[in-house]
Amino acid sequence: MKYIDEFRQRDLAEKVAGAIVREARSGRDYHFMEFCGGHTHAIFRYGVQDLMPPNVRFVHGPGCPVCVLPVRRLDDAVELAERHGVILTTYGDMMRVPGTKQRSLIKAKADGADIRMVYSTQDALKIARENPKRQVVFFAIGFETTTPPTAVALVQARREGLRNFSVFCNHVLTPAAIQHILQSPEVRDLGTVKIDGFLGPSHVSSVIGSEPYEFFSEEFQKPVVIAGFEPLDVMQSTLMLIRQINEGRHEVENEYTRVVKREGNLKAQALVSDVFELRPRFEWRGLGSVPYSALRIRSEFADLDAETRFELSEKASREVKSCECPAILRGAKKPTDCKLFGTVCTPDNPMGSCMVSSEGACAAYWTYGRFRTRDGRTAGKEEIVA
């Protein structure tokens, strides 16, 4: 696979790993937050941490759209399918995420709700065309990468006069979340979360470009390297971060130049701003209410907005108490710090979102990590291998 296999080569990985070992100074630690779940996944799936010297550590960030969606919004989606009788379409990632009282879309589906997994917004439109007498809602989640395809679907639905189609919009913005993390007391004042630099989003940046990160590197004096999602990209970007720190620089650098330009994809950006506008605030799981961190559908498209079309009830949405997803999403805690991890909460019976998505830190620890015993309990420290 061109552009994939080259970036998984062992001999190159050994070379880059060798350079990292040489250049990382033994007198200090390097803590890099990989914002994206895509990076988390690559690090665990390929065992990248094993190739790093012990003083280079990755801090897992909140860049998993499934993980940061607040329970309330998920409960709303379940309500749309159950109470309003719509055909609810969504990406496979959302199906198993638990809402209030562990109610997930897959459980609602088992109870008879018409919930259909789609691969693309084009499939959701197709379902709307094929079911003219039913209301079809697309439950839209995702960062800037996933937003333009939703915009295309809305424009297309308008053009075709597809009156039975609407979108329940939950698109969120990456830069706002990064800024929120950097401003959090845990990072800024308490120093409980140590972040020396960021592995910047790869596919988000293919849309928004590298420019939006320039503010952080300047304001917070932290280096950012936009990194591709293949394991070699992650390693090379780590090397670039180490070099910036060693040289006292804090710039935005781009390792993923084969896809990311400074200005991003202008056509996609224009389309997104035609259809969406900023929400003054949006609730993130883990980060709380973050100003200007999400998008809503513009009033020009209000007739295709599921939040306008359907009256959603007030609900007492609740996450599981003692689930540490919020702190884990901020990088303040590790999955193994959570009481529920591996005991009550496993991928078979997830209590929080981080255990569901394959990009969630808990699921990645559980699936790929080597620190627990087979009977499901977290292993003692002496048993921790990685």
């Binding site: 696979m1 061109k2 552009y3 994939i4 080259e6 970036f7 190159l12 050994e14 070379k15 880059v16 060798g18 350079a19 070992v21 040489r22 994206c36 779940g37 895509g38 860049g63 998993c64 759209p65 990406y91 691969y119 693309s120 917004t121 084009q122 499939d123 995702g142 960062f143 990468t145 996933t146 333009p148 395809p149 295309v152 989003p201 790869s202 596919h203 988000v204 293919s206 849309v207 591709g228 999602f229 070699l232 990209d233 090379q236 090397l239 390792e255 993923y256 130049t257 084969r258 896809v259 990311v260 994809n265 056509k267 996609a268 389309l271 990009e359």
Partner: protein
């Protein structure tokens, strides 16, 4: 987040649609978000949409950079050995 893959455009069809190939796997995708894509180009595909063209030159440059990181390390190692 944001699973996306580079795939080769094998044909361009009406309504901004195209067929891309990843090895022998072919999939119909939308080109609505990109301009000036030609057959033979590689595009980054996410949820059935091309998000960006993939630059062959830049990919080669990045790979060369990774190889260089190693060369530098190898040289340092040799210097280290020579010093010892």
């Amino acid at each position: 987040m944001c699973l996306a893959l580079p795939a080769r455009v094998v044909s361009i069809e009406a309504d901004d649609m195209a067929t891309v190939a990843l090895e022998g796997v072919r999939k119909k995708i939308s080109l609505a978000l990109v301009d000036e894509v030609a057959v033979g180009d590689y595009v980054l595909v996410h949820v059935g949409y091309a998000l960006h063209k993939v630059s062959e030159e830049e990919a080669a440059r990045t790979l060369a950079m990774m190889a260089e990181a190693g060369v530098l390390a190898d040289e340092l190692e040799e210097i280290g050995r020579a010093d010892a």
